[in-house]
């Protein structure tokens, strides 16, 4: 099974690179496929995605090929005479069992991936992410740091109806925030997602998952980011008027730089509000506003 995944992954790379060459403009924005991401989980998701995609492509070639061949060969205008057979238990059993077997073969790696994703134990760092209309609050629970992040001012001005500003002139249009959060590389980070008003969904595609932020719930997920860099995402669940305008930006740095950032932020940040219950903090925030 594993070899099949890697092989399909390699075929995917070949296909993707061929497709990427097609538009002569070679503009990066003619993106076709899922990015690989930067966590072990996102790589597994990518391989699984390519595996199922190839299963679908092969099935499609067989089924659509048969339809195409029928259209070519069995047309009345070419003198085709219709046979009258209309039943075959053997064939029916065959095309019930074969897809079933393929599904089981796909379910095995999918189950493994899911078990891995749900294992949030032994984390090095815990960050509580709270969604509000329309910004995110990040609390580094064991470090005493709190950050609020909303859409950057530049994007916010440009995105107003009839602003007259060309979005292509704004750097990272709609994917830029006023306060980035900083995370350490190669550490198992546990994310607790919740919300203060309506349901949001926290999604950075490079991590390989999204998780809903729901008032009254604390959802657990984790990520081990293996590459330093800046990764961007957005709220994925409709949360009202400005749902499209609450981006997520994470900057992943070395442990030393991360510690420095924490130290610098600790002094500047206001004391963390009582966060016994997400609902309570939510209403507290509303009052503060």
């Amino acid at each position: 099974m594993m070899s099949l995944i890697t092989r399909s992954g390699r075929m995917g790379v070949v296909l993707a690179s061929i497709l990427a060459m097609l538009p002569a403009m070679a503009n990066a924005s003619w993106e076709l496929n899922l990015p690989r991401g930067v966590t072990p989980y996102s790589n597994i998701v990518y391989n699984l995605h390519m595996l199922i995609l190839w299963v679908c492509v092969v099935t499609g070639i067989v089924v659509f090929g048969a339809i195409f061949l029928s259209i070519l060969k069995f047309r009345k205008s070419q003198g085709a005479v219709a046979a009258q057979w209309h039943e075959s238990t053997t064939v029916e059993v065959l095309w019930t069992i074969v897809p079933f077997a393929i599904l089981i073969a796909m379910a095995v790696p999918a189950t493994k991936a899911l078990i891995m994703m749900e294992d949030v134990g032994k984390s090095d760092l815990t960050i509580k992410v709270t969604g509000y209309q329309w910004r995110w609050r990040y609390e580094y629970l064991d470090r005493g740091v709190e950050v609020f992040a909303a859409l950057s001012q530049k994007s916010n001005v440009a995105r107003q109806l009839g602003s007259g500003i060309d979005p292509t002139t704004v750097e990272n249009y709609l994917l830029d925030v006023d306060n980035e959060i900083v995370l350490p590389v190669n550490k198992k980070i546990r994310f607790l997602t919740t919300a203060g008003d309506v349901i949001h969904s926290w999604w950075v595609p490079a991590l390989g998952w999204k998780r809903d932020a729901i008032p009254g719930y604390i959802n657990e997920s984790w990520a081990k980011i293996e590459k330093e860099g800046v990764y961007r995402g957005q709220c994925a669940l409709l949360c009202g008027k400005d749902h499209g305008f609450m981006p997520i930006v994470i900057r992943v740095v070395s442990e030393a730089e991360f510690d420095k950032w924490i130290a610098g932020h600790k002094q500047a940040a206001p004391p963390v509000a009582n966060s016994a219950s997400p609902v309570a903090t939510g209403s507290l925030l509303v009052q503060r506003q």
Partner: protein, 532 residues
């Protein structure tokens, strides 16, 4: 001309003239026509909303509508297309065709039939009037998730009551189909001889009866949460926002099969007709439809994989979901086997039916991908999902509706439609609909969330392609209207059988059929056994 049709000439038409004919009619054909016309009007209203959405998404930046209006467009587009266009269209087809297919004079409950139709215009007046209210229409998405939907202003009670009305109308229509099929079949029309359209509609009717009351309950709880101080879905009051999602999708997943099962029935009638060959595996088609309907009740939580379910729940819903691929695959393979070694011609209904098989299967593939939970954590709530459900609902359900319209239009009107125009409509629609929806797969995979009025610039190119496809697809639907209007007004006289390979009782009636379809039951010998 058949005996039944000849017999009909002894009777007069007992209907009032003018508008009161349509207000008071209990005739299955009149009501069927009203359902179909209403659905076509709604298809254009919902389509106009889609045009606004694609216009705003044509390029990055907000040019035409503010985010609030954009959100109410996506919300209402969905509600109008699901409850206003596709569901009433199926009920319209059921009204027209089921009595003619089973050898009955009319539907079993004709007054209920009149009532279930006339609820609809009022329900949509309520719903669409919210667009002109202070605060605008509902903008929380057609899934009405609390707490967001509770932030809706004046439109809120109108939304809830419109959904109540729509549910009542569907349940009444479904009860009528069940009563008709179980009581009014002609002698000799055994269950396993029923045309597949009738079979898939009975199954659909049971899905409706089982799932619509659940939706009614869920939205009633929203209503009391908003106005009567209950906290069913409010975490602050001890309730649970995720509970609503479980209840909603317990309705919502059977609902998607309500939208697609009758399409399976229509395609199973059209392909054998133009292939001049009996449908392959009739009984397995019936069992597959039953299996799909059963599975549709135990997979609802795949719409909510990201809410944070326990591992066991995620695994169960993943396995059950991908299992649906098996009976669905059986259906697709059977259609292909029907075409194999046949003698095909490619009139417009057949073109739409073949396009249905191919494009619906593509929607099925993306559905399979979405069903795999760990990968769904990436796909969920992106344009990949938007592409998926438009492939199954537009190139699936809507294409089957068009196929069925072209297929039976000569029977309904007594005239042949304009085949050249029909073929133009098919080719332009099929090409443009793929330009419209296929790039949305790429957008979703690249990371574009759904339901956003504006997007980051790396999504600009495919959005522009998609919008161009959307405009062409939208405009080309006027050709559909032209074909229908021309056909109703005149055209070459249609024969009773209309299509060379047509089988089934409806083709033994005259074209157009008599006002009361089978006033006397058809001869048992004219009943074909289980071929389609």
């Amino acid at each position: 001309m058949s005996e039944a049709a000849a017999h009909h000439d002894d009777h007069g038409h007992h209907y009032n003239g003018g508008i009161s004919r349509w207000l008071t009619t209990t005739n299955h054909k009149d009501i069927g026509t009203m359902y179909l016309v209403f659905s076509l009007v709604m298809f254009f209203i919902g389509g106009a909303m889609a045009m606004i959405i694609r216009l705003e998404l044509f390029k990055p930046g907000l040019q035409f509508v503010d985010p609030q209006l954009f959100n109410s467009m996506t919300t209402l587009h969905a509600l109008v297309m699901i409850f206003g266009a596709v569901m009433p269209a199926w009920t319209g087809f059921a009204n027209w065709m089921i009595p003619m297919m089973i050898g009955a004079p009319d539907m079993a409950l004709p007054r209920l039939n009149n009532w279930s139709f006339w609820i609809l215009p009022f329900a949509f007046t309520l719903l669409l009037s919210t667009l002109f209210m202070p605060g605008g229409g509902p903008a929380g998405g057609w899934t009405m998730l609390p707490p967001l939907v509770l932030q809706t202003g004046m439109a809120f009670p109108f939304l809830i009551f419109a959904v109540h009305f729509l549910g009542a109308s569907s349940i009444a229509g479904a009860i009528n189909v069940v009563a008709t099929v179980f009581n009014l079949r002609a002698p000799g029309m055994t269950l396993m001889k029923l045309p597949l359209f009738v079979w898939t509609w009975i199954i659909t009717a049971f899905l409706l009866i089982a799932s619509m009351p659940v939706l009614a309950g869920a939205v009633t709880m929203l209503l009391t949460d908003k106005y009567f101080g209950t906290s069913f879905f409010s975490a602050a009051g001890g309730g649970d926002p995720v509970l609503f999602q479980h209840i909603f999708w317990f309705f919502g997943h059977p609902e998607v099969y309500i939208l697609i099962l009758p399409a399976f029935g229509i395609v199973s009638a059209i392909i054998p007709t133009f292939a001049r060959k009996p449908l392959f595996g009739y009984s397995s088609m019936v069992y597959a439809a039953g299996a799909i309907a059963f599975l549709s009740f135990i997979v609802w939580a795949h719409h909510m994989f990201t809410v944070g379910m326990p591992l066991a729940g995620e695994l169960f819903f993943m396995y059950a979901t991908v299992l649906i691929a098996v009976p669905t695959g059986v259906k697709v393979f059977n259609w292909v086997a029907t075409m194999w070694q046949s003698s095909m011609t490619f009139e417009t209904p057949m073109l739409f039916a073949i396009a249905f098989v191919v494009l619906f299967t593509i929607g099925g593939f993306s559905g399979l991908m979405l069903g795999v939970t760990p990968v769904d954590f990436q796909y969920h709530d992106t344009y990949f999902v938007v592409a998926h459900f438009h492939y199954v609902l537009v190139t699936g359900a809507v294409f089957a509706l068009m196929a069925g319209t072209y297929f039976w239009l000569p029977k309904w009107t007594g005239h042949m439609y304009d085949e050249t125009l029909g073929k133009w409509h098919f080719w332009i629609s099929t090409i443009s609909v793929n330009v419209l929806f296929f790039p949305q797969h790429f957008l979703g995979l690249a990371g574009m969330p759904r339901r956003i009025p504006d997007y980051a610039v790396q999504f600009a190119d495919w959005n522009m392609v998609s919008s161009i496809g959307g405009f062409v697809f939208g405009l080309s639907q006027f050709m559909f209207v032209i074909v229908i209007v021309k056909c109703v007004r005149g055209g070459a006289k249609a024969t009773d059988r209309v299509w060379e390979g047509a089988r089934g009782l409806e083709w033994t009636l005259s074209s157009p059929p008599p006002y009361h379809s089978f006033a006397t039951p058809p001869e048992p010998a004219t009943i074909d056994g289980g071929y389609r």
